[in-house]
């Protein structure tokens, strides 16, 4: 039987959280809008005579993202019109980028290998369609609050080998965009959208398969992994029967846990791309790009490596604590203070993770360290007092003592706890243990 290697590429769209839209000054806040069509203007509503003017910050953030992903930057770039008709597309074309995207040829690492980033480009989002019935008639309702919101599109090479790796890739990108403070990537809101191109190549063959299936409109990582895994199975079955899977677009049905056909991609859309005559091209200088590069913070991957190296933090702990630049700075302060005050950085971190240290939002680093010290503060206790407590506890807990003597040494922890409760002060656990075990002999 033939085995196949999955050939998977992902297309990810993320809404940038600029204050205003991509080509106009409308508020960029579609999800929080209390009513439909309240954040529009002639430009994003597609009124005749309206003209686009690009948002500088959205462009800077796209470059920032590209540099963080090790991309090359096109020093000369432009916006192009992607022409097609759809009710949520106000102008009958989407302003996007065709052949000269802002960023290209980058990479990101995953636990299963490196994924090459083909390109990152900037475009505008469409309005939103809702389905409803009005006066007995099935209709679609359109809200243009989202029309014109800046969207980055990240396309990778078909280097992904399966659902798990796809999920890891997607999550890493989400983490990075949140870390750079350019996007919230809230998937349930559509702030980040996933699409996968999936095909299978017989093991040992060179070149790409002669078909690919696109799965679109996946709005969670769990569904992404499930959809990919389902597709791999479905396509394997077809290929084993000697059939080539139909080149088409499919959706994911979470209820049935299956992909389903949406339309054939055979007659591919003709978008008639041409440079947008309303928007002068963009040209960067080397100084501009290096300034953006310099403004990049230490990236999560670098932070994680540093923490693992210097403080022996585990991968997962380090990942958890590097969600934002603010958090990294805070943790670094804590680690530095711990080091200065000769406390174990690893212990503090573990107490933080395990919520033994209770932290409030604005707690400064020193407050955290102080809490740790207090938590583990030990008081030297009078030996007589200790012996009295030990004796009392042993007499009050004959069952536990019996268990201990029968070999169940775990019960020691319980007895120690009882002794600590009796003493009511923080005593060095070692001291208690020695006294207790001696008494139990």
């Amino acid at each position: 039987m033939t085995t196949y290697t999955p050939v998977i590429g992902l297309e990810i769209h993320a809404e940038l959280k600029t204050a205003s839209k991509m080509f106009c000054g409308c508020a960029n806040d579609p999800f929080s809008a209390k009513s439909p069509n309240i954040y529009t203007c002639p430009v994003c509503l597609g009124l005749p005579g309206a003209l686009p003017v690009p948002n500088k910050k959205a462009i800077d953030w796209t470059i920032k993202l590209g540099l963080a992903l090790d991309c090359k930057i096109n020093y000369f770039s432009k916006f192009d019109r992607k022409n097609y008709f759809y009710a949520d597309l106000a102008k009958g074309y989407q302003i996007s980028q065709y052949d000269i995207p802002f960023c290209y040829e980058g990479k990101i690492s995953t636990s299963q290998g490196e994924i090459r980033i083909t390109r990152i480009h900037l475009e505008e989002d469409t309005g939103k369609l809702l389905h409803d019935t009005v006066a007995g008639t099935p209709v679609s309702l359109i809200d243009f609050n989202r029309s014109g919101v800046p969207l980055v599109e990240i396309v990778c090479e078909p280097d992904i080998k399966g659902g798990a790796q796809a999920q890891e890739y997607g999550k890493k990108l989400r983490c990075l965009m949140r870390y750079l403070n350019i996007a919230d990537c809230k998937m349930a809101q559509g702030g980040m959208r996933l699409a996968a191109n999936i095909s299978l190549a017989p093991v040992g063959t060179k070149g790409l398969p002669n078909y690919k299936v696109e799965v679109k409109n996946i709005n969670s990582f769990k569904f992404l992994e499930q959809a990919i895994d389902y597709e791999i199975d479905r396509q394997t079955e077809l290929l084993d029967q000697g059939q080539t899977p139909v080149q088409e677009t499919r959706g994911w049905d979470a209820n049935k846990q299956q992909t389903f056909s949406q339309r054939t991609k055979e007659a591919a859309e003709d978008y008639r791309y041409f440079p947008d005559p309303d928007i002068p091209p963009i040209e960067f200088t080397k100084q501009q790009i290096s300034a953006i590069k310099k403004s990049l913070p230490e990236l999560p991957e670098q932070v994680i490596a540093r923490w693992q190296d210097k403080y022996q933090l585990s991968q997962s702990t380090a990942e958890q604590l590097s969600a934002s630049q603010e958090q990294v700075a805070w943790i670094d302060q804590i680690l530095t203070l711990a080091h200065q005050q000769q406390l174990s950085p690893l212990d503090i971190i573990n107490d933080l993770i395990n919520k033994k240290i209770k932290v409030k939002v604005d707690d400064d680093a020193q407050a955290v360290v102080t809490q740790f010290k207090t938590l583990h503060q030990t008081v030297a206790v009078d030996q007589d007092q200790l012996d009295q407590a030990v004796t009392l506890v042993i007499s009050q807990n004959p069952d536990a003592v019996a268990k201990y003597k029968a070999g169940k040494t775990q019960v020691l922890g319980f007895l120690m706890g009882q002794i600590m409760a009796q003493l009511k002060t923080k005593v060095d656990p070692q001291q208690i243990k020695i006294a207790l075990t001696t008494a139990l002999k």
Binding site: A19, L129, V139, S140, L141, P280, P281, E283
Partner: protein
């Protein structure tokens, strides 16, 4: 050189989202051929080593700051004012089946 026939016209009409009747298909085919006859004259001039001009301004980097322009924004009422079919703040179209 492109061969224009009624199938070309039908395909283009679909791409352009323009409804055309059979008699329009016929007259448009004729119009296309006539127009392309004139346009094809462009083939006679040499464009070797010539780059395309998409914009005559030589402008670059015309961008705006990331600020909300309240004065330019429309109220919901203004946005909907010219639409034939609206419902509770939305524009309405017959149900669209898939994307």
């Amino acid at each position: 050189m492109a061969t224009i026939d009624q199938n070309t016209i039908k395909h283009v009409a679909q791409l352009a989202n323009i409804p055309i009747t059979p008699s329009e298909t016929e007259s448009l085919t004729h119009d296309f051929i006539k127009t392309l006859e004139v346009v094809n004259q462009l083939q006679k001039i040499s464009v070797q080593d010539v780059t395309t001009t998409h914009q005559v301004t030589n402008l670059k980097n015309v961008l705006r700051d990331d600020e909300i322009n309240h004065a330019k924004m429309l109220t919901q009422e203004q946005a909907l004012a010219n639409a034939k079919n609206t419902h509770q703040g939305y524009f309405v179209v017959p149900r669209i089946l898939t994307k």
